[in-house]
Amino acid sequence: MNSFSGDILKIQNLRMCYPTSSKWVLDGFNLNIRAGERLALIGSSGSGKSSVAKALVQILPPGSICKGDIFLAGKDLLRLQNNDLVKLRGELVGLVFQDPMTRLNPLMTIGNHLLDTLQAHESDKSFLYRRNRAEELLLKVGIDPSRFNSFPHQFSGGMRQRIAIALAIAMNPPLIIADEPTSSLDVAVANQIMTELSQLCDELGTSLLLISHDLALAARWCERMAIIQDGKIIEEGPSRDLIDRPLSFLAKRLVDSALAREAKVLSEQPKIKVVLEVDRLRCWHSSGGFPWRPNWIKAVNEISFSVFQGETLGVVGLSGCGKSTLCRALLGLLPIRGGGVKLLGQRLETLNRESVREARKAIQMVFQDPFASMNPKMTALEIIADPLLIHNLATRSQAKERARSLLHQVGLIPAEEFQQRLPHELSGGQQQRVAIARALALNPKVLICDESVSMLDAEIQAEVLSLLSSLQRSFGLAIVFITHDLTVARGFCHRVVVLDNGKIIEQGDSEQLFHSPQSELTKKLIHISPSISSIGKY
């Protein structure tokens, strides 16, 4: 247990500026955290929330200016000598980053990571003590100590994040800073990680500063919230009050968009025409075994469903359940090992190669990571025009004209401003809009969205979802919406299919499925999805 009482962290009038810019990233930032308290710092991207974490452990790039007072457990951080600072990192603050893989040394075993940290701070203790302590830490975060000598790449994302937590709590610091700790993980794992992190914090009496863009997640795990904009705290208060009665403009907007994300954006659609019919589809890969009796990995096993014109079908499941394999198989990127796909009345498996390519124009996909799905050397206009050129549907100038009108349709207005930009010159939401425009270029009848909003800020998620549903209405699109987030699926999908281990375990109208889930997995998924409407008065 930590012996501090009162305020663990006290930041007063903090001003901070990076060496290359003249703008104050943090400008008059004030924040207090009491011992054992869990506080969430919420803000859109670019609001300076990660800079707070960096300023707190003083890992700013050299030449940065940092003024004001930071008192951490009674010590004034900005007036510490370099040696004391090194002690501070780890002993007074533990840091958990967003992407654990890039923060762990791929050539070091996880055990050595822990030993290294322990040695840096407790070099006077014996090796045996440190070794025992490292194993104890692994046990604490739920990792089998027999994996002491495993390397980071041998762990899944969730496990790596646990290791990062073990490293952060190694010295029992009075404060842990978690910077978007779960945004690269799926809901179930995120839930586990957050549960463990908050349990550990309670157990050790540690305070937690959770930095996030997700209001629902923050409200679920933290008792107090602070909203940051332009380097200043603009609103602060108990989570529940803040969600029920947001005062500032930004807070209102955040709460509204978090609600919009979960809100029902669908109009009832008559089920007239089936556009996509999947009949007992199998996608098996062989892994070893004898040639006449291979060991099959059944990523997708006998899945049947159909999608009507203008309808949204949600495909929900945890990572590894076969969602991604399913959409790659539908797009023809992976071989199908049995079963059939019927697109607009045509059975794809009976067609020859060229006709399949023709037929597949009617089915397009929007990927999870918009930036990675676009050629970094092509401008927005070229990206959108490319499908038309591939299929020889238009001349170069016609394709460009069409691409411009598509840019307009996905809300990138004026098109002239965006058309010449390269992907890295667009924001995340804009990138996803370009990706949607590209998918629409061939006038598809079916749009597959593979986790298409999960990498975006909550605010932008709501925007993209409403764009998708308005496009659905104007084009009569059928959307197959693949997600792990039931909260989103509930509002956005007419029907939902729940996948587990490559099989459909439950399907039905989304509202009905949400109210009376049948299978254990569905119940669990509903329970763990952070939802703002279940927290506040709504």
């Binding site: 970094p376 490319d386 591939i390």
Partner: protein, 271 residues
């Protein structure tokens, strides 16, 4: 440094262009003409860099030599890029047996020392500007191939390649529109560094009496001829072609290094 390199290169290009013209209009003596001149005359106002053992003007020969050096190096490196880059993309993207076969061939070529390989090929093909270019090009194809193939193997797992395939792009479309621009980023650097290397190899071929015909003035063969006279104190026949070659290689290396820095800067700027 890089700008110095570029400046020197421009001087060489000017020399390569202007010297033959000046000779044609009679402002400079013919580099092959030696009979009326004294042999081994030391540098003077008549012959700025002296004459060689056949009485030919060293200064003119050195100037004209830059022309053939630049042509051969340019043709050789261009050919190597034109062969190596597409082959690398094809092999990297298609993979499988084709990839393995080509990689085996290229790695085998790569293990043979540069000079040895080019000597053998130059010997087989006989003398000539184009033949010398081919002899050099064969040496450099594997380098481009390796760089581009490895880059391709890395890039082809990127999501945007899969996205391109999902909108219906065939393999050749993917290679042309999606891979090419993303894998040739390191080629310009390799190109200038190879060009520097090629100048040296061409010189070595000439020194050994291979490569170019005797009627074309060339630094390597001039150096060879100068070798006999060095012990008797005739330094000018060796010095000037040697300096010309040295400065050209230095300039190309500077440009190469400059380009590399520029590329790194650009890449880090993008990320």
């Amino acid at each position: 440094m890089a700008s110095c390199g570029v400046l020197v290169l421009i001087c060489y290009f000017i020399a390569a262009f202007v010297a033959p013209l000046l000779i044609h209009y009679g402002f400079l003596p013919d580099p092959q003409l030696g009979l009326e001149n004294p042999i081994y005359s030391s540098p003077s106002l008549d012959h700025w860099c002296g004459t060689d053992r056949l009485g030919r003007d060293v200064c003119v020969r050195t100037l004209v030599g830059s022309r053939v050096a630049l042509i051969v190096v340019f043709v050789a490196v261009t050919l190597a890029v034109l062969i190596g880059v597409p082959l690398g993309i094809l092999s990297g993207y298609l993979g499988g047996f084709f990839d393995r076969a080509i990689v085996l061939l290229m790695e085998t070529l790569y293990t043979v020392p540069v000079l040895l390989l080019s000597i053998v090929i130059a010997f087989l093909l006989g003398r000539g500007v184009f033949n010398a270019s081919i002899a050099l090009c064969v040496v450099y194809v594997p380098q481009y191939f390796r760089v581009v193939r490895n880059q391709t193997v890395q890039v082809k797992t990127e999501l945007y390649i899969e996205a391109a395939r999902s909108i219906g792009a065939g393999p050749f479309w993917v290679m042309r529109k999606y891979l090419l621009k993303n894998v040739i980023t390191s080629v310009p650097v390799l190109l200038t560094l190879n060009a520097a290397d090629a100048v040296l190899v061409l010189g070595s071929l000439g020194f050994l009496g291979l490569g170019l015909p005797e009627t074309i003035p060339e630094w390597g063969s001039d150096l060879n001829m100068a070798l006999d006279a060095v012990p008797i104190g005739v330094w000018w026949t060796a010095l000037y072609p040697g300096i010309a070659m040295f400065v050209l290689v230095l300039a190309l290396s500077f440009v190469g290094e400059g380009l590399e820095d520029f590329m790194n800067l650009k890449n880090s700027g993008e990320n």
